[in-house]
Amino acid sequence: MRYRVRWGKRGKMRFLSHHDEASVIERSIRRASLPLAYTKGFSPHPKIAFGSGLPVGYRSDIELLDLELTEPLPSDELVRRFDAGLPKDMVVHAAAQLPPGVTSLGATIHAADYHIASAAPWLAEALAGFMRLDTYLITKPYKGGERTDDLRAGVLDASLAGNDLYMRCAIKPRSVRPLDVLDVMQELAGEPGYPIEIERTALLTQQGDGFVELDENYKELKVAS
């Protein structure tokens, strides 16, 4: 039985890495004695599949994960028991059982929306300048070597409304992090510091030429936070 779960992390838990959060979640499921399915073989692993890793320091209430149970469980019971085992500031919001054959999260999440609060005033000009560029290449260490990515191509949309900066960034084919973009803008503008409060507000999948929210098809998951 596959279930899709919407969860979030805030506060101090923002600083967990993706790797940390996976083991925290696995343990809370053990504590909750949920009938989690394991892979067979030499070294059994729990059947949990995460969507897209949330960068360290970001908050979110719209993260998704899929997990497989060995026996069916009502969604609300799954949510209640799963949530009870999580540390404060990690929250399970909703769950829905998936029909057979649903594509994995990893293959369906193509982009995400972010909200950056208290954006600095100088951002307006820097942002406009950045968005006018055709490309902006950055080189980062990657698996022992280096990799060059087009940061500009990964920013699908950006808008500033007062102190609120909204960005839509690609996750596929390459994931772009808003903080990397902010760092570049800060460098272009010659300004110090950057906001630390970044929230991921939506996970998106491509549909035709546009993007739609990933959990559109699962009404149960769309619980107001």
Binding site: F15, D20, R27, I29, R30, V56, G57, G85
Partner: protein, 634 residues
């Protein structure tokens, strides 16, 4: 109240800029969060190293639970920030903090450091300094926290005696209550720190260094350390908990949110060891053997796994296979966890023919990864000197049984630089590693790997080797080169470590009050994380010793005679000095000594700790056994 004193809002902006920020956030499962306004006394339990190293420490977990069970006390934890975080903290004037409520260390009534080994001393000073607390006891004010320390390194408290207000020698479970009561009493009666120390010094296991004074002979040797305060006993006797079943901790095991070095439910199955390995300080200072009953251990494990969701259980002790009911215990634990993907490991233990059965039992719930033996020395003569009497044939038979049973990787731990060592003993290490590797072929297992690790021996206080000379660095290096070049088998991988780190450990282990200034100077020069290979800088220590006019080799490489007063003579760890001397003479004569659990009582002195039961009443069934550590490979 918490919002007013917590420094979280100052820490938070630093975290996006440091590595592994999760180590600073706290919030572990089962951590206890109290409001300081609700309690009369606050403790900060500090492991003076990185979170990932310090979190698993069992002593802290047990004391944390015991203290937090009291309604009038709160205990939080502290660890050393990594150098990248320290730079940020100093720049932003953020003090050393606790990870529960993120309170500044200076807020607490008591700061308690655990000192598991000696190379951690500079981190203690750095933590105090980061907290804005004067590093020397006599420079601290009435309002500063009481700074205390315990752990195995505290059994020679003298090197840090200028920095620590009081040391707890021995088991902490009961003493922490006595300290809590005394400090609360002093707070409510507004007693001075001197008065408080006076009342604390009367408690068994507590050593107040400022109440003692060393005297030296003209040639620089110690004449003795003498009490200078009416409350100070001439000899401080270790605090000992005799009934471990009365302290069935952890009841609510904490689970880290981020990676730590040992990520498992750790359960102490007994404390103490009477095997009498002469190099082993832990075995000498924790007598007698005090077992937890199988029932208690099972309860702790079953409740603990349910409470924690951890995927692994470690059955801890100095030699876990020596528990009188170990096979039943391991079988029961394996039965209880048959279908849960929980694996069980027995670190710090031993395996032989009997114990291959044990290993197979353990691997029922997990997979067969690696076995680790600690023969410690390469020849039977050398093993008699150190009293770890294992015959070569026993070792090889164990290797064959293990390889035939499907185990592939065997790690072997050795030491070089042991007293009376000759080159043939060093070459013997390579020989035994080669022979163990050959057993794979004999057992029909061609996919065999052997790792032989060899470290430099460091003589420790309260052991029969406390009088002996440590090898100079170049001699250690020569022996380690000889060892490497003597290994023939391609299946054997040799890892060696020695050099300055061992020399420093020896210096700090057997030092007296005169080396305190060297520790301080080394820290001022920038020494910290000295036990981390990539942070340790010997040149700082050489410079510090030179500045202070202290000869490191006088402390490390000098053999002491029977009459010499030792800096820790006024600390009674449970084994009498005369007994240790007799054992040292036997070592030099190449004679071994039976474990008193199956041989006669050797009158080591442990009875004087006040044990009400026989200290050697454990069944003789465990007699067969080889030194070994076992567990999943990392």
């Amino acid at each position: 109240m918490i919002e007013e004193i917590s420094v979280w809002s100052q820490i938070e902006p630093l975290l996006p800029r440091v590595r592994k920020p999760a180590q600073y956030i706290g919030g572990e499962w089962n951590a206890t969060i109290k409001d300081p306004a609700d309690v009369d006394l606050s403790w900060l339990l500090v492991f003076p190293d990185a979170y990932e190293v310090g979190f698993p420490n069992q002593g802290i977990h047990v004391l944390y639970e015991i203290l937090n069970e009291r309604h009038d006390v709160m205990a939080e934890r502290g660890y050393c920030p990594m150098p990248d975080m320290e730079v940020q903290m100093r720049a932003a004037a953020v003090p050393a903090f606790s990870i529960e409520n993120h309170l500044p260390a200076g807020f607490f009534d008591i700061i308690a450091f655990t000192l598991p080994q000696e190379n951690i001393y500079t981190n203690v000073l750095n933590f105090l300094d980061l907290a804005g607390i004067p590093i020397r006891s006599n420079e601290r004010h009435e309002g500063d926290p009481l700074v205390i320390a315990g752990g195995h390194a505290a059994f020679n408290p003298e090197p840090m005696s200028a920095h620590i207000d009081l040391f707890v020698i021995g088991d902490g479970e009961e003493v922490v209550h006595e300290i809590s009561d005394a400090v609360m009493q002093a707070k409510s009666s507004r007693a001075s720190k001197q008065q408080l120390l006076g009342s604390l010094a009367r408690i068994q296991g507590i050593y107040v260094p400022s109440f003692y004074e060393p005297e030296y002979l003209p040639d620089g040797r110690l004449r003795g350390t003498f009490p200078r305060h009416p409350a100070a006993p001439a000899r401080v006797t270790r605090a000992t908990v005799f009934d471990l079943d009365a302290y069935p901790y952890p009841k609510k095991p904490m689970v880290p949110l981020t990676d730590v070095v040992h990520d498992r439910l750790a359960v102490e199955i007994f404390r103490g060891c009477t095997r009498g390995c002469r190099f082993c300080q832990a075995g000498m200072i924790t007598r007698p053997v005090r077992e937890r009953s199988t029932e208690t251990v099972r309860t702790i494990i079953n409740d603990g796994l349910q409470e924690s969701g951890l995927p692994e259980v470690g059955l801890l002790s100095l030699s876990s296979a020596d528990h009188s009911e170990i096979l039943e215990l391991v079988g029961a634990v394996a039965d209880d966890n048959e279908a849960t993907n929980v694996s069980v490991s027995l670190p710090s233990t031993r395996v032989d023919a009997f114990n291959v059965t044990l290993a197979d039992e353990l691997s029922r719930t997990g997979r067969k990864t690696g076995l680790t033996f600690a023969p410690e020395a390469g020849t039977e003569r050398m093993r008699r000197v150190i009293n770890k009497t294992v015959t070569e044939e026993d070792m090889l038979a164990t290797a064959r049984a293990s390889f035939a049973g499907g185990w592939h990787h065997m790690k072997l731990y050795f030491m070089c630089g042991l007293p009376t060592e000759r080159d043939e003993d060093v070459v013997g290490i390579a020989d035994i590693a080669d022979k163990v590797a050959e057993q794979g072929k004999i057992a029909g297992n061609r996919n065999v790997k052997v790792t032989a690790s060899c470290g430099a021996f460091v003589p420790k206080p309260h052991t029969p080797f406390q009088w002996c000379a440590q090898d100079p660095i170049d001699e250690t290096e020569r022996k380690l080169r000889l060892l490497r070049s003597s290994v023939k088998s391609r299946k054997v991988k040799c890892r060696v470590h020695g050099g300055w780190a061992a020399q420093l450990e020896g210096f700090l282990s057997r030092g007296d009050r005169r080396i305190g200034p060297v520790i301080e100077e080394a820290w001022r020069l920038g020494a910290k994380f000295d036990q981390w290979g990539d942070h340790f800088d010997p040149s700082l220590w050489k410079q510090a010793a030179e500045t202070c006019g202290v000869d490191v080799s006088w402390y490390t490489q000098r053999e002491r005679d029977r009459r010499e007063a030792l800096p820790w003579d006024h600390i009674f760890a449970g084994v009498e000095k005369d007994w240790l001397w007799a054992d040292w003479e036997m070592a030099r004569a190449g004679r071994d000594l039976d474990d008193c659990r199956w041989g006669p009582c050797t009158d080591c002195g442990t009875h004087d700790l006040g044990t009400t039961t026989e200290c050697h009443e454990i069944s003789a069934d465990t007699k067969i056994a080889l030194p070994l550590v076992m567990g999943p490979q990392r």
